[in-house]
Amino acid sequence: MAKILIIEDELSYCDSLEIILSRAGHEVFIAWSCHQGIQEGIDCAPDLLIVDWMLKGDLNGGQEAKQILAVHPQVKVIVVTKYTDVARQVGESYNFIDKVLQKPYHTADIIAAAEQTLAVR
């Protein structure tokens, strides 16, 4: 069982991820915006952060994760995105990102990604 923080402004995603991951035995935290996400990340010190790359607001998912990592460097990071070229953009400045998952994805994909990322210690 791990603590997973989801930062995602699409509420449907949040709902589904919350159900799936909690049924998989994890403790799930949800944030719908940049600001809320950073605060929540610092407060709950998650094992895994699942963050959308393109969030409403000033920061992208990578910059968001960076701020949380500054406080809790052990946090694993999965970036989800609808854009195909994020993987290319995720260069050296975002080398802390463990996995990029492209939307749309299946429930099995996100569970597998979470398990795999958490398994690497």
Binding site: S12, D15, S16, I19, R23, K103, P104, H106, T107
Partner: protein, 466 residues
């Protein structure tokens, strides 16, 4: 000698008549005194002198008469027109020398010849009609016909005739003047030829012109078709650029629907998860609904219909344009802020065209970048128009760029696939709606494009009614 004899006979006769008259008068016996005889002689001398003077005066008067007659004869014969006096049978009674010269005959030959003898055969009918109408109307008649001159030549003559009659209305004769109008006729013929030639030239030119005209209108049609094709191509190109953004836009709700549906499957058999199951299903519906809306927008945009102007709320059109550019903007990490006044009216517009125009402006603004990455689209009521401004804090334009902003195929983004048609098409669309478009830009500080769309009186009424 004979004249002299006639003269002396006449004198003798005159003498006798005088003596007789005197005999009748001399009732009183003459005074035979010397005084009486002297007085008589004196009286006689006075009479003689008086008679001599009268005689001289008479002779002078006769001379003047002869001179005058000669002058008139001369005038008659040498006048610059031919004169002829013709009797009822058409015979020439008298003719002047000029006419004889014209007809190239001796004058004595003319008298008692019929005038018709000198008319060219082809024109004899004309002459006959001329004389007939003269007899009928008794008014001056004019005609033009050809007359013979000598045995072989002919000339064009203008004939003017009058009817001379006795006090009781019986005809005496015709007085006819004949003018040689050959030179005039020739000039007229030349003129006629020139006119015909000119007319032919005009006809030829007209034919040439109308051919060129046809070619031109064909070219214009062709050009219009090309322009139409270019417009369509530009719309499709805008559509292509938008399609990528829209695909992303669709991806999100589609992914959410997929995830929600799968999650629902996951929990469907768990009696404790009924609420979550329902939530997942309603999420599926909401997400798919968003997909439907986006696809509908896309279809509306790509439909290639001829321009149809209808009454639309302009704020809705602006919002839809912003919707369509939203994903493109996010891709460029740019936000588009809407600032629409609440009292915006409906306008008679071709909705798709105006959307296309606004999308072009918004995409340009997004591309202009800038540190703040912020584009604002405002709309407000200004007099009898709606003023829409698209403002960015991006790179701005140089004077040269500003000058050419609306010129077709002018682009600063050639390497990024800019066609240079966006603003030009936007300009056309705004013009077609009777509106104006203006660019205000400072290099390095940003650009504001101001579009003004008029609310016509008729539209204002319609708006009130609706």
């Amino acid at each position: 000698m004979a004249e002299h004899t006639v003269g002396s006979n006449r004198q003798t006769e005159l003498r006798k008549r005088a003596e007789t008259t005197l005999n009748h008068r001399s009732q009183v016996p003459p005074d035979t005194s010397v005084e009486g005889i002297n007085r008589l002689v004196h009286e006689l001398l006075t009479h003689q002198s008086e008679l001599e003077m009268q005689n001289e005066e008479l002779r002078q008067a006769q001379l003047e008469l002869v001179e005058s007659r000669d002058k008139y004869l001369d005038l008659y014969d040498t006048a610059p027109v031919g004169f002829a006096t013709v009797n009822q049978q058409g015979l020439i009674l008298k003719a002047n020398l000029t006419l004889a010269h014209m007809l190239n005959v001796d004058r004595p030959f003319l008298t008692t010849s019929p005038l018709s003898k000198f008319i060219v055969v082809d024109d004899e009918d004309l002459f006959y009609l001329h004389i007939q109408s003269l007899k009928t109307t008794k008014a001056r008649q004019t005609c033009q016909l050809q007359m013979r001159s000598g045995k072989t030549d002919s000339f064009w003559a203008e004939m003017q005739s009058i009817f001379v009659e006795q006090p009781n209305g019986d005809m005496i004769c015709f007085q006819i003047t004949i003018n040689d109008i050959s030179v005039r006729k020739q000039a007229e013929e030349v003129l006629q030829q020139d006119r015909e030639e000119l007319e032919n030239q005009v006809k030829a030119h007209t034919a040439k012109l109308s051919k060129v005209n046809r070619q031109l209108s064909w070219q214009i049609r062709e050009r219009q078709q090309v322009e139409e094709t270019v417009r369509r191509a530009e719309r499709l190109s805008s559509l292509g650029a938008l399609a990528a953004g829209i695909a992303h836009e669709i991806n999100n709700p589609l992914g959410a629907a997929l995830l929600s549906a799968e999650t629902a499957m996951e929990v469907k058999d768990d009696p404790d998860e009924t609420e979550r199951f329902k939530k997942c299903l309603s999420n599926v519906i909401a997400s798919l609904d968003r997909c439907v809306r986006i696809v509908r927008n896309l279809l509306t945009f790509s439909r290639d219909k001829p321009a149809v102007k209808k009454l639309y709320p302009i704020s809705e059109v602006i919002q839809q344009s912003q919707d369509l550019v939203q994903s493109y903007a996010r891709q460029h990490q740019t936000t588009i802020r809407l600032a629409l006044d609440s009292d915006l009216p409906k306008l008679v517009i071709d909705r798709l065209e105006i959307e296309l125009a606004l999308i072009n402006l918004l995409r340009n603004a997004v591309q202009a970048g800038g540190e703040e990455n912020r584009v604002v689209i405002r709309a407000q009521l200004a007099n009898s128009a709606v003023r829409i401004t698209v403002e960015d804090k991006g790179c701005g334009m140089t004077c040269e760029q500003k000058k050419n902003a609306f010129a077709p195929f002018f682009t600063t983004r050639q390497t990024q696939g800019g066609t240079g048609l966006g603003l030009s098409i936007t300009y056309d669309i705004v013009q077609n709606h009777g509106g104006t478009i203006e660019v205000q830009s400072t290099l390095g500080e940003g650009t504001t494009v101001i579009v003004t769309l008029p609310i016509s009186e008729a539209v204002g009424k319609t708006t009130e009614q609706s």
